[in-house]
Symmetry: none
Subunit: 382 residues, 2 copies
DNA sequence: TAGGTAGGTGAATCTGCTA
DNA sequence: TTAGCAGATTCACCTACCT
């Protein structure tokens, strides 16, 4: 415990007191160096989304740096578990703290890991004040078998998706995700193949360039779900640059941080050869919430529905008349109000979307009054 | 932090100094009371496997309504409320410490939770010296949807399976698991339905007896995987006694601890009416394999078909473009939607199988997009 | 009896803009 | 800060009841 506190104090001092921040963000750039040190060069609240795939193999002692930049001794048998866990926790807290600082208040962070580290990361995220939105299971379609037959085949990894606070208004492209999943809500478990074949980057010897290269399909879904085109995406553990490649393809701006020279080189070449998607392919299913608001009264004013018209619900349980001011009044005189309020009242429901609840009759068929709104939106080109 | 230490000290002192342990284990018994206090009555190293379903600390907000206006029956019980994360952590550490004491050195522990609590539980398990063997994802075949469209559907829960130490010789029935999974290694993701229908216990009013009853199939697999007949299974959060019922069915011995009077009563009645499996039936029941459902959007994510590609029907009457979210948009701009929906729209049909309706062109020949799906299924072997 | 329709429900951190 | 209100939002599986 003493170790944790010492490390944290050091990190905090260094972050707040010393250096000037960059005033122009280094877009489409790999900042080479320690991720904590490099994040300190970025201004507060400047990033829309962070995707992080932190190291968790404690055997890679070189991957662990204290916030002050000093390297942690290699993990060896002299270390007891408590010591290595707390070192990892200190490392996690330190980079999460910087990540939180550079993230916009309405931004989100994704962190991926396996059972070796994800519980520590998740607890640290909560401790640092992040608000968990989902934990996402990446279910590997083709995992490595457990050769010894001693455990269950380790066939998934876990991502944690957080906003900066409970009340934050984060980006979630609900309709896009639903469209991507054959018109069913996207679930918290995603079945995707591991990164292999032509997508897997090789070094000159033909060996895989990076031990944990993530599939582009994973980042594709992450980015489509939680960012807009033009948003700024930061990956503090850039590796071979999957985040940058997908960001470029989907027309998001990106910043990568990577320490190892060889990964930086591989990532640069890879991203340079990635082409952005065509403009037309980027026109997605619109979020309904983003459409301009239309008042029912406007449609009455425009003569798209006449005052005096009778409307009813899908089962013809209630009938009402359209008034000149765009309100409805029940034919039995037992209630009146806006299309929404009256719909809620008659059903005894807390709320109601009047656009879909009320129908008018045309050629013997009931048509949602929402059809009028859609016709209006189409006509005005919005 | 002070809270944690006080609780731990208390627990430790009471456990080691004060009371005499039971010399004969209370098999097939529900010990009524607080789980930490009751575990203190059990001797050291006496339990083969612990299954624990602790409170999740959900922290729900106000009421939630379905789109049809009905209200969701939330988990609002007092036993799920904690003042803060640190209070929850102290509680977790305290019961885990007792659990560790009563567990045999070669025994294992399972803990189930959701993103609200599982990261804290996992970190605490590691802190207490447990060695994680697997994290298991229970993919719910029929989860509750996300009614407001604000996040991904929360469609899974996580179980953590641990031995007491890295070198422990725990039980894992590899071949049984493989047999249960059509002669393929059992993976770390399990698809099982939630507990509903006849299995779901009701109180006298016909309401669910317990808000979070787990399916027997889940415990069935847990117990088959990690215990032998005659082994001693402890469930410190017994609830309606799913663990006891399955233990009896599989001829394991069990001990339950439960605080609430009403749950104890329900569990007793339930287990009394559960019959042990016949010897011959201990050979396993096959489970139906879930049909792999492939969304067209997945193929776009995987790069099997590029956004911007043009598709058409077999007679080339309609042409559409593939968008980045896996939807199609007609080239004349007169319609858009999923492969199925757009196919239905252009034909004026009530429905349409888009997989067979839409084609892409390769070397001058039209190929059903279903060919891409078949290629994906063949590749991933699902 | 088979088949179809209607209604209920599940561990949920479940809205957002404007005045 | 809060009140008011427009309006967006569900999937799989169960039982009960009807024809």
């Amino acid at each position: 415990m003493a170790v944790v506190q010492r490390v944290q104090r050091k990190g905090t001092v260094a972050a707040t007191a010393k250096r000037p921040k960059l005033t122009v963000l280094p877009f489409e750039t790999i900042m080479q160096g320690d991720c904590i040190e490099q994040m300190k060069n970025l201004p507060d609240r400047s990033i829309d989304m962070i995707f992080a795939d932190p190291p968790y193999n404690l055997q890679l002692g070189g991957d662990l740096h204290r916030p002050d930049g000093s390297q942690v001794d290699a993990v060896d048998d002299d270390w007891d578990k408590f010591d290595s866990l707390s070192t990892y926790d200190a490392f996690t807290k330190a980079w999460l703290r910087e990540a939180r600082r550079v993230l916009k208040d309405d931004g989100t962070i994704w962190v991926i890991g396996s059972y070796h580290n994800i519980f520590r990361v998740g607890a640290a995220l909560q401790d640092e004040g992040f608000w968990i939105l989902n934990d996402i299971v990446w279910r590997k379609a083709n995992p490595m078998p457990n050769f010894k037959g001693t455990r269950f085949t380790n066939a998934h990894e876990t991502m944690i998706w957080c906003s900066k606070s409970e009340k934050a208004r984060y980006t979630f492209n609900y309709r896009t995700m639903k469209a991507l999943n054959d018109d069913l809500q996207m679930r918290s478990d995603w079945s995707l193949p591991i990164c292999s074949g032509g997508e897997r980057l090789k070094d000159d010897d033909g060996h895989k360039a990076h031990p944990t290269q993530k599939p582009e399909a994973l980042l594709y879904r992450v980015m489509l779900a939680s960012t807009e085109p033009g948003d700024i995406v930061l990956d503090p553990f850039f590796g071979t640059g999957t985040t940058g490649a997908v960001a470029r393809r989907l027309k998001r701006r990106w910043i990568g941080i990577e320490r190892e020279d060889k990964y930086v080189k591989v990532a640069r070449a890879r991203i340079d050869s990635t082409l952005p998607l065509d403009e037309s392919a980027m026109v997605l299913m619109p979020e309904k919430k983003a459409q301009p608001r239309v008042a029912f009264g406007l449609l009455v004013e425009l003569g798209m529905i006449e005052p005096g018209t009778h409307v009813t619900d899908a089962k013809r349980r209630w009938k009402a008349e359209v008034k000149a001011d765009g309100t409805l009044a029940l034919l039995d005189g037992m209630g009146a109000g806006s299309i929404h309020k009256l719909g809620a009242t008659v059903q005894g429901a807390p709320s109601c979307n009047g656009w879909n609840f009320w129908h008018y009759e045309e050629a013997g068929k009931l048509i949602e009054i929402d059809a009028l709104r859609q016709r209006h939106l189409a006509k005005t080109g919005e």
